[in-house]
């Protein structure tokens, strides 16, 4: 029992150190749990939304450019005899300024696929009912029976909330979807005779082939898997990024746990020496230390899981917010604490804790009892080890090798990223050592013994601070890398917008499927006073059986407007002519990346006349969608597709006309019902950047979490170290040093450690930034961008590292003010 009593007494007498150890483990675990829970929850919600919208459908019957004749449904159901088939008429509508998706279904066939419970209760049937997820009804402040006025283009109509749909375990309707009867949808959306698509469930490929042979040209049977793959490729990249940030948190969490726990063991070496001297065997000591670590792990993991679940609420809001902005509103907000998350947390927390305790404990077991009273053996061992440098070199080399061997895997890119981080982290102790040697020499020359002492102390404490320093370096480097990447991305987007948005005013319908501009309207636009020329555009989604949804952009523009394309690859010679009347198309970078296209290639796509090949003339920069866009001229479009109206126009003003005044004139004369958006170049640019910022908000939050972990780590490590040095301080006081002088030295030491971490973080951060831009973003989204190094962000990172370390020294320095010299000199 003696060792137990001794250990307990240690804990009682140094509660702060003990607490810091627990906090270290708990925070490390909490971050991993928070990231995991929010990521798993978002994923689950995403799947539930998808399930609600697609049901058990295996295929979708759709037209090349969206929309099919409603008789196709009769063909599918009666002639082909497909029992599980349901038509949908969809449109984007607005309600009180919010854009919602109106989904018209035929309840008597839809229930076989989607199984939504459209239960109107006992109310008297009325026309134009809508059903909504309970979350949406709450958000709109609607109770069953209430009126909801929907707008579609110039039309408005009163619908009423006929019921709410509760999410179940498998499916949850997104909170931006309203479900109504198909007849109501057709009438309101003005699409009588047309369907958006027909969802079907087919048993096998034979059945699919049989149905396909019955469909007229221009109507396709698209495998739902193909659709989903294409549609959610972006989500996958998003999730991978999220997972990577979670892993980063895990690495930092590991560092943190390792540091605090191993420190707790190292710190008590004299006690262990005493126990050994009293006759305890090395194995016995080892067992006691592991048992202690197990207790710390159990308490720390429990606290960490609780804290992590608490944090995940906030994080999930950010993650789902990003998904909402990019895809659809997730109705559910239930957090999912998956068993795998708990297992991960337990394994990570307990594993790291026991491992961290085991290394110094092993050393303590081997060392002769007398040796335990000094700590130099381990410090020196740590210091002179070239193994760390070797490991660092190996990791970095492996990272480069992975990148060189594998050209397009995102997972490989992330693997390389982590190897790089680990390799760089392994350099931290060596760097601190070298740095302190250099400063010591400089200080010695300048005859500043105080500085020399501080610097030497840093080196002397390396075994206790080395890992924390590395953790701080990694965290700061990660935030720096991500911040620089986002900054570079934003600058690239800004530059692109500046070149791309050349017109003065942009007119558009509120939704991509709102009624198109009439010819009369376009003519009036051309004749609006102050308008020099106009360009017209329309985005369409082609439902291609092989590629899934493919976005195309029909652009009727002038040579001046065309010059806004920033061509990355392709022959610029006579490009406009080839585009306008030569059948050539332009594709965006992500598009080229997604379909592996280069100028000169032919891209085959489903059209209203069946599959057709399109000649790719050039690849251009475009950040508007990660799924990519193919741009073609009206001439090319009309050769392969049925004519469609335009839904967007850009106005180029004549010299000397004021944008605001022309917009006002437009709103007065042509936009009387206020059903169209008219935005100036500046507003549109700002709106685009606002979306950009919103998309990256979650990344920012995760970055912040990583920093919190690292700062906690360094603060706890350095603070514990300084608190432990009471006897040393007492000696210094006895020798005549003032509290301020000693405090200064403490702060100097911690600052120097922080500075070392910060300096090391800079090259790692830059390397990360380059890796993120050149490899990860390219592989995730197909975007290339310029690399912009913002000196302010760099300075900020350095300041963060130094500031964190400085903060760690403040409390011990402050405590020195009321320091009982004699008591501490007497020692234990």
């Amino acid at each position: 029992m003696l060792p137990l009593l001794a250990i307990l007494r240690e804990w009682r007498e140094h509660p702060v150190q003990g607490l810091l150890t627990l906090v270290g483990v708990a925070i490390g675990v909490a971050v991993v749990v928070a990231v995991d829970v929010s990521s798993v929850s978002a994923e689950r919600e995403f799947q539930r939304a998808n399930r609600a919208l697609q049901g058990v459908a295996t295929h979708r019957v759709s037209g090349a450019t969206g929309g099919i004749d409603e008789q196709i449904f009769t063909l599918v159901k009666v002639r082909a005899g497909i029992r599980d088939a349901a038509p949908v008429v969809r449109g984007s509508v607005t309600a009180g300024g919010e854009t919602l998706e109106l989904m018209g279904v035929d309840p008597v066939s839809d229930y076989r696929l989607r199984g939504m419970r459209l239960d109107p209760g006992d109310a008297e049937p009325r026309p134009f009912p809508v059903f909504a997820a309970a979350a949406l009804a709450d958000r709109l402040g609607l109770a069953v029976g209430d009126t909801l006025t929907l707008a579609y283009g110039r039309r408005t109509r009163d619908f009423h909330l006929a019921g709410t749909l509760n999410a179940d375990a498998g499916a949850a309707l997104p909170a931006n979807v309203l479900v109504t009867d198909i007849a109501a949808a057709q009438v309101f959306l003005g699409s009588a005779g047309r369907l958006s698509f027909v969802d079907v469930r087919l048993d096998d490929e034979d059945e699919a082939e049989a149905l396909r042979s019955l469909l007229p040209p221009g109507v396709n049977l698209v495998d739902t898997q193909t659709r989903n793959r294409a549609q959610f490729a972006m989500t996958r990249a998003f999730r991978t990024n999220l997972t990577a940030l979670g892993l980063l948190a895990l690495v930092i969490g590991l560092f943190l746990i390792y540091n605090t726990v191993s420190f707790q063991v190292v710190r008590r070496r004299p006690l262990f020496g005493l126990l050994r001297a009293l006759g305890m065997t090395g194995n016995g000591l080892f067992a006691w230390l592991l048992a202690e670590a197990a207790v710390i792990a159990a308490v720390g993991v429990t606290l960490g899981v609780a804290l992590g679940v608490f944090l995940s609420g906030f994080l999930y809001a950010m993650v789902s917010g990003t998904i909402d902005a990019l895809y659809f509103d997730l109705a559910g907000s239930a957090l999912t604490l998956a068993p795998i998350t708990l297992a991960k947390a337990a394994l990570l927390g307990a594993g790291a804790t026991v491992f961290a305790a085991a290394i110094p404990a092993l050393e303590a077991r081997r060392a002769p009892p007398r040796g335990l009273f000094t700590r130099s053996s381990q410090e020196t061992a740590a210091l002179h080890s070239r193994r760390w440098l070797g490991a660092a070199g190996a990791a970095i080399a492996a990272a480069l090798l992975v990148l060189w061997l594998n050209e397009d895997s995102l997972v490989a890119a992330f693997a390389a990223l982590f190897l790089l981080i680990l390799g760089a982290a392994a350099l931290a102790p060596a760097l601190v050592w070298t740095l302190s040697r250099g400063m010591e020499a400089a200080a010695a020359r300048m005859e500043r013994p105080g500085v020399v002492m501080a610097v030497r102390n840093v080196r002397a404490h390396l075994s206790r601070t080395g890992v924390a320093t590395a953790a701080l370096s990694v965290a700061v480097a990660a935030t720096l890398g991500v911040a620089l990447m986002i900054g570079s991305f934003r600058t690239s987007v800004e530059d692109w917008l500046r070149g791309y948005l050349r017109a003065d005013i942009y007119i558009s319908t509120p939704a991509t499927d709102a009624p198109a501009f009439t010819d009369a309207f376009i003519a009036s636009l051309r004749h609006l006073e102050g308008v020099d020329s106009i360009a017209l555009g329309r985005r369409l989604t082609v439902d291609d059986p092989r590629h899934g949804p493919v976005e195309i952009f029909v652009l009727d523009t002038t040579p001046e407007g065309f010059a806004g394309f920033q061509v990355k690859a392709g022959d610029r010679e006579k490009l406009f002519e080839r585009f306008r009347s030569g059948g050539a198309v332009l594709v965006t970078e992500p598009f080229a990346n997604r379909f592996d296209l280069a100028p000169g290639d032919t891209f085959e796509l489903a059209t209203d006349r069946g599959p057709r090949g399109f000649d790719v003339a050039a690849v251009y920069t475009d950040y508007s969608t990660e799924r990519g866009v193919m741009t073609l001229s009206p001439h090319t479009f009309e050769r392969h597709f049925d004519p469609r109206g335009y839904r967007a126009a850009s106005l180029y003003l004549a010299e000397g006309f004021d944008v605001e005044r022309v917009m006002a004139a437009f709103n007065r004369s042509l936009n009387r019902d206020d059903t169209l958006y008219a935005r100036s170049n500046r507003t549109l640019r700002e709106a685009s950047l606002a979306i950009f910022d919103r998309t990256f908000r979650v990344t920012g939050i995760l970055r912040l979490l990583a920093v919190v972990v690292a700062v906690t780590g360094i603060v706890s490590a350095l603070m514990a170290l300084q608190l432990e040095r009471a006897r040393e301080f007492a000696t210094l006081r006895a020798l005549g040093f003032t509290p301020a002088q000693i405090g200064g030295q403490v702060l100097g030491e911690t600052t120097l450690t922080g500075l070392a971490a910060g300096l090391l973080a800079l090259p790692i951060g830059l390397a990360l930034c380059v890796l993120l831009i050149r490899v990860i973003n390219l592989r995730s989204f197909g975007w290339t961008m310029q690399t912009v190094i913002d000196p302010f962000v760099v300075g900020q990172s350095l300041a963060l590292a130094v500031g964190a370390a400085l903060a760690a020294g403040l409390y011990p320095a402050w405590r020195l003010r009321r320091f009982a010299v004699a008591d501490n000199l007497r020692g234990d």
Partner: protein, 385 residues
């Protein structure tokens, strides 16, 4: 067969489903439970009639082929095919394919859309596998829009989605010749149907009363003896089958009185070539209303006074999965024609567990007609239990 609860249940469901897009998702807990108060049903049937539906009156004579088609002026209508089939080796099957139309009115606001429909359609398809003593049943629904479901007189067709009975090309020289076809997840049936006999009007020249006072009635005729030949596929195994099919046709507007609980219906074919159809609408306090018609092999029909028809349940069954207790054995006696029959289910578990639950399946009879012993088979339907 008779109207009553079946029609009522269906109407309620379809009104919920379609009329005015008052939609519901059918699942077992949505179905109106048989044997309970059924206030919804009664309310519906006694409620003010929506729209202007025609009334069933005496004296309207049936005309063909016109009356094979649909009667959209009347609120509800059905086409009922039940058949007893055999493979060459003698393996027995039964099948049922029924089409229901229900008028429910529609919103004028939806006039622009072809999906606006004044009628809802439902179909039931069931196969009784006598050898394995199991019944499989499926249902389907469609709006009366876009030709997803419908019926017409010439050339005859009735269909709900992919299930149909359609007239064969005119070359066939018969009173009635059509192909019946239905396919589900695990069974399909394709049969050529043919009859040389003219339709058999039920009741008074097709006017079929459902209660003694004549408050409720339908137009009703049958084709009792359709020759059937074709293919039945069950769980991927195909059987060549032949047999006899009974077709019932009814249309009406109001058919159920407040005090009526359900009905029992029997369509029997005897080995001597006679056919017999009997139904009773069960009222409260044993106020049953009965009907019977006997057609001998020469085609002469004899209708009986309800008082002369004796129907007595003699065996009951309630399976573990069944929702109710059903009378699956009966004593049937019509003294006026010297008919004495004992009827039993070919197997007991022929309950259709669909949105609407009822018992309908293959039965066997034995007994005597004019003191000559006779055997036979047919179909029985039991509702409101």
């Amino acid at each position: 067969m008779t109207p009553g609860r079946r029609f009522a249940l269906v109407v309620v469901a379809l009104v919920l489903a379609i009329a005015g897009a008052r939609s519901t998702w059918f699942s077992s807990d949505d179905a109106v439970e048989p044997g309970t108060g059924d206030s919804d049903v009664v309310d519906f049937l006694t409620a003010e009639r929506q729209g202007d539906w025609a009334a069933v009156e005496r004296g309207r004579s049936l005309r063909f082929p016109r009356d094979h088609g649909t009667h959209p002026d009347f609120r509800q209508e059905w086409w009922y095919y039940t058949g007893n089939l055999r493979t060459r080796e003698g393996r027995r099957f039964g099948f049922q394919l029924t089409f229901f139309r229900f008028g429910h009115g529609a919103f004028d606001e939806y006039a622009e859309s072809a999906w606006r429909s004044e009628h809802g359609w439902m179909a039931h398809f069931a196969v009784s596998d006598v050898e394995n003593r199991r019944l499989l049943a499926w249902q389907d629904y469609a709006r009366g829009a876009l030709d997803l479901a419908g019926a017409r007189a010439e050339p005859f067709a009735v269909w709900v989605n992919g299930w149909s009975v359609r007239a064969d090309p005119p070359a066939v020289d018969a009173q009635f010749a059509a192909t019946l076809s239905a396919s589900s997840e695990s069974a399909s049936v394709t049969l050529s149907l043919q009859s040389d006999a003219p339709p058999l009007p039920q009741g008074e020249a097709g006017y079929s009363a459902k209660d003694p006072r004549g408050d409720t009635a339908s137009y009703y005729y049958s084709l009792p003896n359709l020759d059937a030949a074709g293919m039945l596929v069950l769980d991927g195994r195909a059987f060549e089958v032949t047999g006899r099919v009974w077709m019932d046709r009814e249309w009406s507007t109001e058919v159920l009185s407040k005090d009526q609980l359900g009905w029992d219906w029997f369509a029997l074919r005897l080995a001597n070539g006679d056919t017999l159809m009997i139904f009773q609408v069960r009222g409260e306090n044993d106020g049953h209303f009965r009907y019977a018609v006997h057609v001998d092999r020469s085609g002469r029909a004899r209708y009986f006074d309800p008082k002369d028809v004796l129907l007595e349940p003699v065996a009951w069954w309630q399976g573990e999965t069944a929702s109710s207790r059903y009378p699956v054995g009966w004593r049937i006696a019509i003294a006026a024609a010297n008919i004495e029959l004992s009827l039993s289910a070919a197997f007991e578990d022929q309950e259709l567990n669909l949105d609407f639950t009822y018992w309908e399946g293959v039965v066997d009879v034995e007994g005597s007609v004019d003191n000559v012993s006779v055997r036979g088979e047919g179909y029985m339907e039991l509702t409101g239990y």
